[in-house]
C-alpha cells in the first residue's frame, strides 16, 4: 500500500527497516569477533640471561638463547662486547642455523645466507637479521629491543 505523495510503499519501508536493522546488527557483531580472534601476544621488550653462561665466549663465537618464542643468537664481538640477533630469516620467517665452519647463518627453507654480522649475502633474504642490544648488569646479560628499554 502506498499513501498518496509518499515515495515508499509501506512494504518497502518495512523491508528496509528489518533488512537494514539485521544487516547493521551483523556488522556491529563483526568487531568483537575480530577482537577476540587476534590474541594479545607481544614480543618481549627484554630477556635476562645469566651472565655466567655467556661471559667466556671466544671472540666471534655464537651461542643460542630464547628471544620470547623465537630463537636468538648471542655473539661475542672481537672488541670484547656482545651483540645479539633474532634467529629468524627475514625472507619467510624460517629459523636460521649458525654454521661455525663457514662463519655464516643459513636458512634451509629457500637457501638464504647471512654473514657473521647478520648481513644478508646470498639467496632471497631482503634484509639483514634483526639485531638486538646487549648490556651487562651485575650477573645478568640483558638483551633488549633497540628503543624498547
Amino acid at each position: 500500500m502506498k499513501i498518496k505523495n509518499s515515495i515508499y510503499s509501506r512494504r518497502k519501508f518495512l523491508n528496509g527497516l528489518l533488512g537494514g536493522g539485521l544487516g547493521s546488527l551483523a556488522v556491529i557483531l563483526i568487531s568483537p569477533i575480530i577482537k577476540f580472534v587476534f590474541p594479545p601476544y607481544k614480543e618481549p621488550d627484554q630477556v635476562n640471561l645469566p651472565l655466567a653462561d655467556y661471559k667466556d665466549m671466544a671472540p666471534g663465537a655464537i651461542k643460542n638463547f630464547a628471544w620470547g618464542l623465537k630463537p636468538g643468537f648471542i655473539k661475542a664481538k672481537s672488541d670484547g662486547t656482545m651483540t645479539a640477533y633474532v634467529g629468524v630469516c627475514t625472507h619467510l620467517d624460517c629459523n636460521v642455523a649458525w654454521q661455525p665452519d663457514k662463519k655464516k647463518f643459513f636458512c634451509a627453507c629457500h637457501d638464504g645466507w647471512y654473514d657473521e654480522n647478520g648481513k644478508n649475502i646470498a639467496g632471497p633474504p631482503p634484509k639483514p637479521l634483526r639485531e638486538l642490544q646487549v648490556a651487562v648488569e651485575g650477573e645478568e646479560l640483558i638483551v633488549s629491543r633497540p628503543g624498547a628499554v
Binding site: Y41, N64, L69, H91, L92, N95, A108, P126
Partner: protein, 352 residues
C-alpha cells in the same frame, strides 16, 4: 514397501529429482573420459571425510599431544597406520584429480556460457582443497610441517595493506604456537568442511541445471553427439572406476605407509630440504627464484601480487575467454598451456 515409499513421497516429494536423475543423459564423445574425473574427486572426498572423522577420534590438537597422538595412531590403534596413510594419500590423489578435472575443462573450454558460475564455484573448491592440504600438513607437528607452515603463513604478509593481519589471523599471533595448531585443526575439521560442502552443493546443482557440456566443435556446428543414460549405464562405469581407484589407493597406502618425524621444536633451525606438498612446489620454486629486492619493493611482494593476479585471471577466465571458438579462444588456450608448462617445469626444477 510400496506404502512406505508412498509415505516418503507425500512428505518429501522428491520424485521429480529422481526422475530427472534417471532420465539424465551423458554425451558420449572423445572427451567423455574427462567426465569421470568429477565423480573420482567425490570418491576421494568421501574417503577424506570418513578417514578424517575417525582420525579425529584419537588426534589431539595440542603442542604436547599432537605428535604423540599421531604416533599412537600409527603404532597402537588397530589399522591406524593404514587409515592415516589412506587419508594422506587420498588427499594427494584428490588434488591431482582436481587439477586434471580443471585442465580438462580449461582445454575443452567447458566453462563457456552458461557454465561460468560452475567454473567459478570450482575455483573456490580448488582453493578450499589446497587449504585443506595446507592446514592438514601442520597437524602431525614435526619439523617439516612446522617449517612449511611458517613459510606458508608468512607469505600473505607480503600482500600490500592487509598482509600483516592475514598472517596474524592464520597464526593466532606473531609466531607459530599451540594457538596456531588449534586454529589449523578447527579450520581443517570444521571451517573448511562447511565451506567446501556449501560450495559443493552449489557446484553439483549447477552441473545438474546445465547438464554436462558437449565438445565445442559439436556445439558450434549444432550437432548433438551420441549419449549414454546416466542411470544405470554411466554410474555403472563410474563405479568400476571407483573400485579401481579405491583398490590402488589402499594398495599403495599399505605398501608405502606414511612416516612420522619426531615432534617439532619451535626453536630449532629449519631442517634441510624443506619442501611443501607437491601441489605447492611451483609456488615454492617461484618464491625461491625471485630476487630479494626489485625496484622499490621486495621480490616477495611482486611474487605474491603476481600470484593474486593469476588466481583472479583463472577465476574470471570464462568472461575473459568469451569467444571460445574464435582466434581469441585459441590464443587463450595457448597461454593456458604455457602456464601449465611453467607450473610443471617449476615443480620439476624444485625437486632437482
Amino acid at each position: 514397501m510400496k506404502k512406505i515409499a508412498a509415505w516418503f513421497e507425500s512428505r518429501f516429494g522428491l520424485a521429480p529429482i529422481s526422475a530427472f536423475m534417471i532420465k539424465k543423459e551423458i554425451p558420449q564423445t572423445k572427451h567423455t573420459l574427462w567426465y569421470y574425473t568429477g565423480s573420482s574427486i567425490l570418491l576421494f572426498f568421501a574417503i577424506q571425510v570418513v578417514t578424517g572423522i575417525i582420525l579425529a577420534f584419537y588426534y589431539q590438537p595440542t603442542l604436547e599431544g599432537a605428535n604423540d597422538s599421531v604416533a599412537r595412531i600409527m603404532t597402537e590403534i588397530p589399522l591406524g597406520w593404514i587409515i592415516r596413510s589412506v587419508h594422506s594419500l587420498s588427499s594427494t590423489c584428490m588434488i591431482a584429480v582436481v587439477m586434471i578435472h580443471m585442465a580438462a575443462i580449461l582445454f575443452t573450454k567447458a566453462y563457456r556460457a552458461p557454465r561460468e558460475a560452475t567454473w567459478m564455484s570450482g575455483v573456490f573448491l580448488l582453493v578450499g582443497s589446497m587449504m585443506f592440504g595446507f592446514t592438514g600438513y601442520l597437524l602431525p607437528w614435526d619439523d617439516l610441517s612446522l617449517a612449511a607452515t611458517k613459510v606458508g603463513t608468512n607469505i600473505p604478509r607480503a600482500i600490500p595493506v592487509v598482509g600483516d593481519w592475514v598472517t596474524k589471523f592464520l597464526r593466532g599471533g606473531d609466531d607459530i604456537t599451540g594457538d596456531t595448531l588449534s586454529r589449523f585443526f578447527i579450520f581443517h575439521v570444521c571451517v573448511l568442511p562447511l565451506f567446501i560442502l556449501a560450495i559443493l552443493v552449489i557446484h553439483i546443482f549447477l552441473i545438474q541445471r546445465h547438464g554436462v557440456s558437449i565438445p565445442l566443435h559439436d556445439e558450434v556446428k549444432g550437432r548433438k553427439p551420441k549419449s549414454l543414460p546416466f542411470w544405470p549405464n554411466f554410474v555403472w562405469r563410474e563405479a568400476a572406476v571407483w573400485m579401481v581407484l579405491l583398490g590402488a589407493l589402499i594398495t599403495v597406502a599399505v605398501l608405502l605407509p606414511l612416516k612420522l618425524d619426531p615432534s617439532a621444536d619451535t626453536m630449532a633451525p629449519a631442517p634441510e630440504g624443506v619442501k611443501p606438498e607437491w601441489y605447492f612446489l611451483f609456488l615454492f620454486q617461484t618464491l625461491k627464484i625471485f630476487p630479494a629486492n626489485m625496484l622499490f619493493v621486495t621480490g616477495e611482494t611482486v611474487a605474491v601480487v603476481l600470484i593474486i593476479i593469476a588466481v583472479a585471471l583463472i577465476f574470471f577466465l570464462p568472461f575473459i575467454d568469451n569467444k571460445p571458438a574464435e582466434k581469441k579462444g585459441k590464443v587463450i588456450s595457448a597461454l593456458a598451456f604455457l602456464g601449465l608448462i611453467y607450473a610443471i617445469a617449476m615443480s620439476v626444477w624444485s625437486l632437482l
